[in-house]
Every structure is written in C-alpha cells, then in structure tokens.
C-alpha cells in the first residue's frame, strides 16, 4: 500500500487506500486508479461509493446480463482495522432479479482482506468466455482458470480455489451451480456460509463466468488518530456488548425473534395469508439452542455480537453440519411454508448455501408455489411430480433443487415471484408478494408500520436492511434526526418520517461498512466520531445524515433512470388487510398517507423523482439533466 491518498495539497485522507481496482474479464486488462477525493468524502465507501460509480457507468439501454453491467465490490473507512462489526463488504450492480439498483452486503473476512490488500473497491467488468476466478493477493492480481471449480457446489469450489491459489489465510466468496445457470435469486457465498444474498448478484457473476473472488491482504491500515481509534473501539465494543439485543443475538441468534413473533405478529405465515400458527416455538433460536446448536469458531471478524449459529444434525434424513439458519430463513422455509421441522430448515439453508441462493427469495417462491398448487393453478404435472402441500419439508427441498438447476417448476420460480405470477396468470399476481420484483423479507408492516413506507421505497425493492426500522419502531430513538421518543409501532403518522431518517442513516452504515445490528448502539453521533477519527475529515451527526440522504437519493435517481416511478412505490394488497388471528389483528398501515408523508419529508415530486431543489441541496446537481431532460 502506498499510504493515504494525498488530497488538496498536504491534507491526508486516512481510513482509505484511495484505490479502485478494475478487472476487465473480456480483455483481461487489470488497472488500478485513484478514487477522486470527493467520492470518498461525499459517498463514504461501500454502498455509497458503488452508486457514485455505477450511476455513471451502467448504461440505461442495456440488459442486466450485458457485459457492461458491473460487479462492484467495496468497503469503507471503518473496515480493515478491527472496528466492531466491520467484517462487512458490499457488492453492487444492476440487479438481475429486479432490473434496478442492487447492493448486498456480507460479513466474514473479505472486507478486512480487501482493504489490507490495498483497495477500497474492485470493479469487475466485461465477460469471460471460460470459467475464471479473480485472485487478489495484495498487489498481485490474477484472472485464473476456474474450470476445476465450475459446476461444483460452493464449499467444494472454494476448497478448490484455495488449493489452486495457494493462499492460506484468504477470504473467498464463490457462486454455486445456481449462479452458473443464471438463476435470478443466485448469490455469492463465502467464509463458511456468509451470503451477499439478495437480488441475484450471483447470476451476474455466472453470466461473467466468474466463479469466485479470493482475496488476501496484510498491509497496515492508517487512521488519522491511532490512540483515539483504539479508545473508540474499546468504548463502542463495550456499548454494543451491554445492549439487550446484543445479548439476545449472542445467546440465541437472529431466530430468537421467531419466538417473539407470537407476541409481536412480525413473522409472515402461509405466504402472508394467515395470522396464527402453532409452530413458531419449534423453529425459534431458543429451540435451536437446546437442540442442534454447537459451539463453533470463528464468527464474523471483529464482531462482539456473535449472532452466527453453527449447527450439526447427526441422525435422520437431514444430516448436515454448517452455518445455522437465520431468522429470515426460519421464516421463509418455516412459517411461510407452515413447516415447523427445524432440522429440515437447517438442511434447506445448507442446500441454498451450497447451490448459492438467497434463502429469502427461494423460500418466498416456494410458499408462493404452494399457494398456487393449493388453488389449482399448478399441478403435479408442473412440479415434476412434487406434491406441494403446505408444511411438506420434502416438497420444499425438492423445489430448492429444481430452482437451483432450473428444472421443472424451478425454472419458472427462479425468475422470481413477479415473473412467475405473470407467466402463470389465473390471479397468481394477487399472491405474489413482492415490491419492485424483490420478494419481501420476513417482517410484517402490520406489526411495525414503519416497514410500510420502507419496503415501498427501498432502492432495491422490498428490503429491511435499507432502513432497518425494526431497531427503532417502538423502541429506538435518533435525537440527531429529531426522533426523541420511541414511536408507537402502530401510530398512524410519523412513519414516513421514521422511514426516511433510518434509510438515510443506514445508507451510511452500509457505506462505512458495519453491521446493522450495531445500530442498536451506534447512532449518527457515534458514526460521526468514528468517521472523523478514521479519516481525519471532521464529520458531525448532521453531516452523517446529509451524506446518507445523498447516497439514498442517488440510488433513487439510478432507479428513476431505469423507469421506476411513484407507481412502483407500493405494498402488496395482501398486506393491506387485517392479519386476523394475530396479535396485530385490525392494524393496517395506511400506505397512501404514509407515502404522502414520506414524499413530503423527502422532497420528492409526485412522480417519485427527487425534486430539483433537493438534488441541488445535497450535491446531486449532476443527475438533474438525466431526470428532468
């Protein structure tokens, strides 16, 4: 590493390498270029840096699988130097599943290694005509033959790539057979089961014949104030550890929330149709801790929360060992499909990890298919003989394999529920639960009203991580943004405002890049301190929120250019009816009023575009000509 980037004379911008690595798979050209100072200061890194580049570089008149769609791996100024929960990187592109903006983050050790190899970002461009993997070993960059890994499941492929590269302590993320076959819910998996799950970035990798990226770096990172950095890490680690949610996640993992949904009404049941189900306790993290959970190291790098689970099933039809299912997976293959067999869900999770697929979209597609089967829209002739009965673990596993291999009904489901419903017809669109083509995560806007406007407006479609309002709705505050008291989760007003401020803050979280679970303890003030100490550029809480607003609006502008308007900002009709039989029966968000409030606080036009004055205010003048031509 050459040290910090020199900017504006003698000013040093620490916390960055200042370098973008470009790898063109069409011609094999590898270049390193300096990242403009303004990009780093105004967009931080991670998701923000990605949209600043990709807004300019992905043409509007292209197909998602054209060679000019790019895979942009990026980290931020808090990565690479043991900041708590900073084991995360972001991969961004135009989504094969939705056709709009996609950034997806994963934990593990990739971010740490990439930063220490000397890069803030890697842009993978063009297409290879044969299977390859990208090796980044500090400043030794090679595009290498991956024929020994092509066709292999993820864990076997990663093993082969480690062997071939000769790297011992590296981090490797790979696609499985699903990505190779361009399944639109394919993702990359690495570092023992970590997933950059949503939106189909694995399919884009497959279209480029890029099997994996392996990275190792051992160069020292510089921050502006080493002593303050160490004190900050110590202080924030203690603060995160002391938070009740951290303790729950540490002891029971994210799926502890499955038990809580009995009281909160959060998890969806039977493709979002029902309000009550007796199976939640059987698939909660509390039950997992008593049954299949085993102690295992390592967890995510620099993480004091340690929510990752490792499970082993020694007997019966679902024998496996590996990463345990998260809450989202418990929901998608559990309550969504009325399947309370914990071991089968762990097995389904393992299958998706090995094929390289997003468990949320796959599980949501299975439950959608179960409903279509129940309604007689599809039959055994369509399913390859699989009886798609609610609760059938065997049916779930069979359809997972079909999706991964693009066989039988799976070939259709792998396109996502929106496309599947369009092709099936017969009213299937009524129960295709998605926003902008992305299947919903396992959180119900009828339990936490703020999820309504959040899902409707998230830049990548229905998403709980671009606005993790669950950390605020009902319990959290963000006084820096004017949220001094926790909101009633069922308040009829204030949710547009809440969605906006959390989206803005989380845009910075996804750019810094740290874990959303840290935001129970780290707000804009703490983030500003961290960015200041890391970079040497003075940030205050308002700077953080304004930067987040800039990033979020640029992602919106990216989508506007691909045709997204206010007509796309909506919730599925099923979620706008009472969840009868649940603890939240009778509570239905008024999405129309929520969005009116949201548009008002965002200063967006009625057609869904950020207003010209807003764009000027936040430094996005350069998009005005594109949006208002």
């Amino acid at each position: 590493m050459d040290g910090p980037v020199t900017i504006k004379g003698d000013v040093k911008l620490n916390g960055y390498t200042g370098k973008l690595l470009r790898v063109n798979l069409t011609n094999g050209k590898i270049t390193v270029e300096e990242i403009p100072e303004s990009y780093l200061k105004d967009y931080i890194g991670g998701s923000g840096l990605a949209v600043r580049y990709l807004y300019d570089e992905i043409p509007v008149d292209s197909d998602v699988f054209d060679e000019n769609n790019k895979l942009f791996f990026s980290v931020g100024p808090l990565n690479g130097k043991m900041f708590p929960t900073s084991g995360r990187f972001v991969v961004s592109c135009r989504s094969p599943l939705t056709g709009i903006w996609l950034d997806s983050s994963a934990s593990g050790r990739f971010a740490y290694n990439l930063k220490r190899a000397g890069y803030d970002a890697v842009s993978v461009e063009g297409k290879s005509d044969k299977p390859v993997y990208l090796m980044i070993d500090n400043d030794r960059i090679e595009i290498r033959d991956a024929s020994m890994a092509w066709g292999k499941m993820v864990s076997e492929a990663i093993k082969g790539i480690f062997d071939d590269s000769g790297l011992k302590k590296a981090s490797c993320f790979a696609i499985g057979p699903a990505g190779e076959k361009l399944v639109k819910m394919a993702c990359m998996i690495g570092d023992t089961g970590k997933a950059a799950g949503r939106g189909g970035s694995g399919a884009l990798m497959g279209s480029k014949k890029l099997k994996a990226v392996i990275v190792y770096g051992n160069q020292e990172m510089q921050v502006s104030d080493e002593a303050a950095w160490k004190d900050l890490i110590k202080e924030l680690t203690a603060k995160i550890n002391a938070h009740p949610v951290s303790e729950a996640l540490k002891n029971f993992g994210t799926s502890v929330a499955m038990a809580m949904t009995i009281q909160s009404g959060d998890a969806p049941i039977k493709n979002w149709k029902d309000g009550a189900w007796d199976g939640f306790m059987n698939i909660s993290g509390i039950t997992m801790a008593k049954t299949i959970l085993r102690k295992h190291e390592p967890q995510c790098l620099a993480c004091p929360i340690r929510c990752c689970r490792y499970v082993e099933i020694d007997d019966g039809p679902y024998q496996m060992k590996g990463e345990g299912p998260e809450y989202e997976t418990m929901g998608s293959f559990g309550s969504m499909c009325l399947n309370d067999n914990l071991e089968s869900i762990a097995y389904a999770n393992m299958l998706c990890n090995e094929y390289g697929m997003d468990t949320i979209s796959v599980g949501a597609s299975v439950s959608f298919a179960m409903e279509a089967y129940e309604k007689g829209i599809i039959s055994k002739e369509d399913t390859g003989g699989v009886a798609l009965q609610w609760g059938s673990a065997e049916a779930i596993l069979a359809i997972i394999r079909q999706i991964a291999n693009r066989e039988s009904l799976g070939a259709l489901l792998g396109e996502g529920v929106r496309t599947a419903a369009e092709k099936l017809g017969h009213g299937a669109a009524d129960f295709a639960i998605e926003v902008k083509g992305l299947e919903l995560p396992m959180h119900d806007p009828r339990a936490f009203f703020a999820f309504g406007p959040t899902y409707a407006t998230s830049p990548r479609g229905a998403c709980h991580t671009h606005g993790y309002v669950g950390a605020y709705d009902g319990q959290g505050v963000m006084p820096e943004a004017g949220l001094d008291q926790p909101q009633d989760p069922h308040a009829m007003t204030g949710k547009g405002f809440l969605a906006k401020i959390v989206q803005d803050f989380d845009s910075v979280v996804q750019s810094a890049v740290i874990c959303l679970f840290a935001t129970y303890s780290i707000g804009p003030t703490e983030m500003a301190r961290a960015l200041t100490i890391a970079t040497g550029v003075p940030f205050n809480a308002q700077d953080v929120l304004k930067t987040g607003e800039r990033i979020f609006n640029l992602q919106r502008a990216f989508n506007s250019r691909f045709g997204i308007t206010s007509a796309d900002d909506k919730l599925p009709a099923r979620l706008l009816t009472s969840k009868e039989g649940s603890p939240v029966a009778g509570f239905v968000p008024n999405i129309k009023e929520q969005l009116a409030e949201y548009y008002d606080v965002r200063d967006w036009e009625v057609d869904g575009k950020p207003s010209k004055s807003k764009l000027k205010e936040i430094g996005l003048d350069f998009v005005i000509g594109d949006l208002y031509a």
Partner: protein, 88 residues
C-alpha cells in the same frame, strides 16, 4: 407458566410462580420484578415499579395482549413478557 423472553437481556426464562389470587397482571409483574430486580435494565421499569409496556409486551400463549384491566389472568396456561426484536 410465565415466560420471559429478553426481559432479562439475552435470557429465556420459563418459570412457575406462586401469586396472590386473583392473579392480576400487576401482581404477577411485582412478583417477577421482586425476583429479578438486579438483572432488569432500568428502562424496562416505569415510575410505578412495574414493567414499562412501551418496551415490554405482555400476552398469552396465543399472542392476545394482557393488560392491567384483566381481573384474573390465572385461567390462561401461560403469560408471556417479551422485549420484541426484529431478526435479520
């Protein structure tokens, strides 16, 4: 049966309590708080020394909310107290 989920941070507690009849939510809460006061975060209690129901949900095994107006909650098989959290 009383279930406490994350009311004591990071713990899942299932317990059977003796309580003066009729069993009201207030009496039950006072008994729980007496037993676990040292482990309860301050913000989980209100100025009356009861649970802060802005943060803690109380309900039966089916998810029906219980509040202080219920004259006797002993008829239900379980009473839940829970600090909700959103998994990810």
């Amino acid at each position: 049966m009383v279930r406490l989920y994350n009311v004591i941070p990071g713990k899942s507690i299932e317990d059977t309590l003796e309580c003066q009849v009729p069993v009201t939510l207030e009496r039950l809460e006072r008994e729980i708080i007496k037993r676990h006061r040292a482990e309860l975060p301050g913000e989980y209690l209100n100025e009356d020394g009861l649970f802060n129901h802005r943060l803690i949900i109380s309900g039966d095994a089916k998810g029906n909310r219980l509040d202080y107006r219920h004259p006797d909650i002993a008829g239900g098989s379980e009473v839940w107290f829970m600090v909700p959290m959103v998994g990810g």
